[in-house]
């Protein structure tokens, strides 16, 4: 565990920015956390080709630091949505999705109020062309453009997603799709 006030990273293979809330979602979700002391080191880690996963608030922080494109804004229905969500694997050529077949439907819970992914005109086209959309919602719950639930960076080493794979790691929890994602990571290292 690395505290947000730290300024350097230990030697790591993978960084995970978990979900939850930071700074009460004041200003914009993830905006103030994106300016935390540790984030300079996270940016450097990205620039040297490090592997990073941002989940929910972690995804919001990665967009606020511009490590990932786009922004997360409030859900169109203005409600906090917490439910199991069907997703389509739009890109299975990343270290986090390689255990799935292309276009496979998987189930991972979502739990967010600000999960509507937004990116405009030429930038969204660029994201599509670079195969940057990795997960799409089936029955879009929050108004995300192009049904986007998760994206990756141009170098495919940074993943951001609103659904919570860590909450789908045991049959008792209803799904093991998330476990398959973490297994993808292990098999790619």
């Amino acid at each position: 565990m690395i505290w947000h006030k730290e300024t350097t990273l230990p030697k790591v293979d993978l960084l995970v920015l978990p979900g939850g809330f930071s700074y009460g979602d004041y200003l914009r979700c993830g905006a103030i956390a994106a300016k935390s002391p540790i984030m300079k080191a996270v940016k450097n880690f990205y620039e040297i080709g490090g592997f990073i996963i941002g989940i929910c608030n972690g995804f919001q922080i990665l967009t606020e630091t511009k490590i990932l494109p786009g922004a997360l804004i409030p859900n169109t229905n203005q409600k906090f949505i917490c439910k199991d969500q069907d997703l389509i694997v739009a890109n299975n050529k990343t270290f986090f999705t390689s255990n799935f077949e292309h276009n496979k439907t998987i189930s991972i819970p979502i739990a967010h109020h600000d999960g509507q992914y937004f990116l405009n005109g030429p930038e969204i086209e660029e994201l599509e062309q670079n195969e940057g959309i990795i997960l799409k919602y089936r029955d879009n719950p929050n108004g995300s453009i192009k049904d986007i639930a998760g994206v990756c960076s141009k170098n495919k080493r940074v993943i951001g997603m609103m659904p919570h794979p860590e909450r789908a790691v045991d049959k008792e929890l209803g799904s093991i799709s998330g476990l398959r994602m973490f297994e993808s990571v292990i098999s790619n290292f």
Binding site: L27, T63, I73, Q78
Partner: protein
């Protein structure tokens, strides 16, 4: 604040860019119309910030305010800002 500095006050308005869905504005518009408060075609909800700067001169204060707006108060993917100096 050092003896060589002056206080400058600014207001900063932040609003969603055109094309970004503003569900809060939409809900407010519906309430206006349902309650017959007026014939309102569109509502956008934004944010207002008041910044009190201590700077050696106005030019420096404006430079800092612009940087704060661009780096922190707004996300250029979804929002735009304008600022103006106020006396009080």
């Amino acid at each position: 604040m050092t003896p060589n500095e002056e206080v400058f006050k600014f207001k900063v308005e932040v609003i969603f860019k055109k094309g970004v869905l503003d569900p809060q504005g939409e809900a407010i518009k519906q309430s206006i119309n349902i309650n017959n408060l007026g014939n309102i075609l569109d509502v956008k909800q934004g944010k207002l910030f008041e910044l009190t700067a201590s700077s050696k001169n106005r030019e420096q204060a404006i430079k800092e305010v612009e940087r704060i707006c661009a780096d922190l108060l707004t996300n250029s993917v979804i929002e735009e800002f304008k600022y103006y100096e106020v006396s009080e």
